[in-house]
Structures are given as structure tokens and as C-alpha cells.
Amino acid sequence: MNKTLYLYEMKKSGIMLLVFSAIILMYVVCVIWMYDPEMMKSLKQMHDSMPQVMSAAGMDVTSTTLIGFLISYLYGFILLVFPMIFIILRSRNLLAGKVEKKNMASLLAAPVSRRIIVQTQILVIITCTAILIIATTVFEMVFCHLWEPGELNISQLCAINISLFILHFFIGGFCMAISAVCNEASLATGISGGIGAVMFLVQMIRNTQISDTVEKFKYFTFFTLYNPGKIADNVESGIIGIAVLGVLGLLFYFFTVILFEKKDLPI
């Protein structure tokens, strides 16, 4: 890792990190504010009246505990999509954008190997992801403690957030590999954003569970591998899914390094 480059990139991530943390904070506050065992009943009624629509947005009312409530309203959409958007936007500039703008030349015209450069950039995206997830965890803990003291199961929350981090670690690996291949930032965003959006759409359709065919959609999206409900309940299949994501993520980061080291740079 090159410390100077790392600090520069982290500083550059600052504002974006702040904006995305603020968005997440807003949703966390809203959702915890909404939590009310009484209201859960009316929501359940709503869900019963139009199950597909609610499920599509990942909002399944299955559990009435606070953690179940958070899983339904935060972990089906907000905490999947917003960190993913952050990663797509940040990863484009870490490699592809610098090749496009040619200031990668400033980084390469120095006794710093390509491997060190790409490893530093990978570390930046991982650090940013970790910051977002840690911020989320802190927000959840603070507001649950303020408004619903004693209701939150901390170890369950940690388990689902650590696995949420691994999901986004995987997405980061995928986006960085794309960024390493592309010579244009917009192309990198197009590919990683496009694939991310399609995967999420497939996940939404699959959530509706309207037919058996739709159920098979689970094989076409990586979001299937992240099942916070199962992780909270410590179900084995949920943990295996996360382990698979972790391994795939590592592989993607590995490929990112190899691809960037070998490629011809038009700078």
C-alpha cells in the first residue's frame, strides 16, 4: 500500500461518504421511528392485501421483533442499493477514471509498482464500504437505544451487518475488476451499474414469489446469497451464502490486481 495515495483517495471519498451516510441515517431514523408493535398489525394487513407489491420492495412482514422489522424495511432495499451505488460511483474513479483522464501517468511515473497502486485503490474501496456499514450499525444502535431501549438484539444486528459488509465487499470486488478492465469511467459505470441494476431487479421479481418460475430467478442474482433473516436466526444456509460471497469477492479483488498489472494503458 502507498500511504500517500491512500490518504489522498480517502480524503476524496469524504464528501461522498458523508452524503451516503446521511441518506442511510435518514432511512434508519424513519424506519426505527415507524416501529410500533401496534402499527405492525396494520402493516401486516396491508401486506396481506397486496403481498406482491410489498415483497417486491423486500418488505416482508414475517417477524414482529425489532430486528425482524429492520430486516424487512432496511435490509431488503435501502442497505442493499445505497452502498452499492456508492461503490459503483467510487470504484469508477479509482482505476478507469484515472486512465481516462490520464492522471494515472502521474502515479506510474514513480518508483511505485502497478501492484501497489491497484492494491491501494482496493483498500480504499474496502475501507469506504466498512465505514458505511459501521456508520449504519452505529445509527441503528443509537436510535434503537433511544426509542426502543432493550428491544434490539445486538448480536443478531452484528451478524447481519457483518454479512452485509461481506455482500458489499463482494460487490466492491466486482466493480473494481470492471474498473480495472475499462479505460473509460463511463463504460465502467455502465457495466457495473447495469449488471447491479439487473441483479437487483431480478431479486425484486423473485421476492414477489408469484410463481415457481419466478422462484427460479434466485439462481440469477447474487443477492440471493445474502439472506439477513436466515443469518439473524443463525441458519446454516444463510452463513454458507455469505461465505460464498466472501470467497467470490476475494477472487474478484485478485483478478483486479492481475488484470491491472498486465494491461496496456493508453495514457
Binding site: N2, T4, L5, Y8, K12, K101, K102, N103, A105, S106, L107, L108, A109, A110, P111, V112, S113, R114, K262, D264, L265, P266, I267
Partner: protein
């Protein structure tokens, strides 16, 4: 001791610092570089001339290890430009043809970023260069003019006091005064035994700085010439007889000729510009 030995060996054997052997890279449609071979010795300034799209930048990309040699060899100090890029870059300064720095930094921030990033302390040389080029480093790079960015790039390339300099059109965007300062900087570095390869379009600066010139056309090196050789090849000699010795002396003074009694010999050298224009036109006619 080893350094002294190296110097001795270099002095005796005229070691090549930059070596290209049959370097080829075909981009299709006749673009690219083909079978390019050239050497630059230590302490030599090599000028790389050619029309747009001739392959100058492609060659420089190979030297910087941005792209791999598809066939042929590309070496600096006996090391492979791609594989040993890290070791080579420790002693190399580079100025990109299409200057692109970090827009959101000020000149000062950029220069100290480069310094820290390289892990070197080059404060003194940096100050000297900033002064020499009258660069205002407090301005954000985004707001800099082309010339200011170019100067910032020059400072960044020279401040680590590298042994080898690879410069892609170094004076583009500089005003005549700054071009002059750049020329004298190159000449100073040459005296300090630095090896320099620069591509250029400005004949005057090439004429004033380079020892040898390589002319590249359509990706092929068509000519490598000593600058003195070029000059004698393309000069005309006139002998004039004047009425008196006095007049002959004055004439010789005004026209920089050699006096011999009433006879004065003047040489009119063709400018490099003219020489190269002939080459370029030839190329287009082919």
C-alpha cells in the same frame, strides 16, 4: 566505489542508457511503430521528431512501461521497461505529452503529493525550479492555463533530480521566454551527464539542445543524425570579395564570416525547420 567504476565503464564503453531493438507494435491501418531501433547514450540529449501520429508517443509509452512490447526489446539501463518499471522509475523523470494532473489540488499540493508518493525529499530542487519558471503554485490546477500546467509538470519531472529524462513535447504551451529557460535547463542537465530523450515540434529548441536527432515517419525511424552532421549537409558557403580590408572586417562582423584579407567566407545554414519540412513533404509525396 561501484559508482566510480560504473562511471569509468560508461566513459570507456559509451554505455547505452536507452535501448530499443526492433520494437514493433501494430495497431492496424498502418498505425503503430515498426521495427524501431535506437540507442541513447549516457549524457546524450536525443531529439525525437516527427509529424503527428508518427509514433513518438507510442514509443514513449513503451519506455514508461505503460504498454508491453509485442515484439522487440525496450530497455533502460539494461532493464526491461515493463518488468522492471519500478527500478527504472526510481531514476527517471517523465513529462507526459498530454499533461493531466490532479485537478482539485493546488500546484503546491500536487508537487508535495508527488514528492511524498515517490518517497523522496526534493525540496531544494523543487524551489529552484519553481523560481526558474516563475510558477505560482498557490493556484488550483483546474484553474491553471495550459502553460502553467506544463510548468507544474516540468517541475514534477525534474525535481527528483533523475538521471534519465523522458519528455514528450516538453515546451508545448510555454511562452518564448519560458521556452528559453527550458532550453537552458536542458543544457545544464546535459552538462551534469543526464540522459534525455525528448520529442518535439519546435525545431529551435531541438537545435539548441539535442546532440542527435531521430526522425520518425509512419512508425518507422527514417533517419538518425548527428546535429552537426545535419548542419554541414545542409549549409551553403559563399565567398565575397570586398573593396578594402577594413570593409571586409566589418562585413565579417555583421554576417559572422571568416576574413582572409579582402575575402570573406560566409556560411548560411539551412534551419532545421527547413530540413525537416523537406523530409515531411517527401513523406507526403510518397
Amino acid at each position: 566505489m561501484t559508482l566510480l567504476y560504473q562511471h569509468l565503464v560508461r566513459g570507456v564503453m559509451d554505455l547505452n542508457v536507452i535501448e530499443l531493438e526492433h520494437l514493433t507494435r501494430d495497431y492496424g491501418c498502418g498505425k503503430g511503430i515498426f521495427d524501431l531501433s535506437l540507442n541513447v547514450k549516457q549524457g546524450e540529449v536525443f531529439g525525437f521528431l516527427g509529424p503527428n501520429g508518427a509514433g513518438k508517443t507510442t514509443t514513449i509509452r513503451h519506455l514508461m512501461g505503460f504498454i508491453k512490447a509485442k515484439s522487440g526489446k525496450c530497455m533502460i539501463d539494461g532493464m526491461d521497461c515493463m518488468k522492471d518499471r519500478k527500478a527504472i522509475q526510481r531514476k527517471t523523470g517523465y513529462l507526459s505529452g498530454e499533461i493531466s494532473l490532479f485537478d482539485e489540488m493546488t500546484g503546491d499540493e500536487y508537487l508535495s503529493f508527488v514528492e511524498k508518493y515517490r518517497g523522496e525529499d526534493s525540496n531544494k530542487k523543487k524551489r529552484d525550479l519553481i523560481e526558474r519558471f516563475e510558477l505560482d503554485t498557490s493556484v488550483k490546477i483546474r484553474k491553471m492555463s495550459k502553460g502553467m500546467k506544463q510548468k507544474t509538470g516540468i517541475v514534477a519531472a525534474f525535481m527528483s533530480d533523475p538521471e534519465i529524462l523522458i519528455l514528450d513535447e516538453p515546451t508545448s504551451g510555454l511562452d518564448p521566454l519560458m521556452q528559453q529557460r527550458f532550453t537552458s535547463l536542458i543544457n545544464e542537465e546535459k552538462k551534469r551527464q543526464k540522459t534525455i530523450l525528448m520529442s518535439s515540434h519546435i525545431f529551435e529548441e531541438v537545435e539548441k539542445t539535442c546532440d542527435r536527432i531521430g526522425l520518425i515517419r509512419g512508425g518507422r525511424l527514417s533517419e538518425v543524425k548527428n546535429i552537426e552532421e545535419l548542419r554541414t549537409q545542409h549549409s551553403h558557403k559563399y565567398t565575397v570579395f570586398l573593396e578594402s580590408v577594413e570593409e571586409a572586417k566589418k562585413f565579417a562582423e555583421d554576417f559572422k564570416g571568416e576574413v582572409d584579407g579582402k575575402m570573406v567566407t560566409v556560411r548560411k545554414m539551412q534551419t532545421l525547420e527547413k530540413i525537416f519540412m523537406n523530409y515531411y513533404e517527401e513523406d507526403e509525396n510518397e
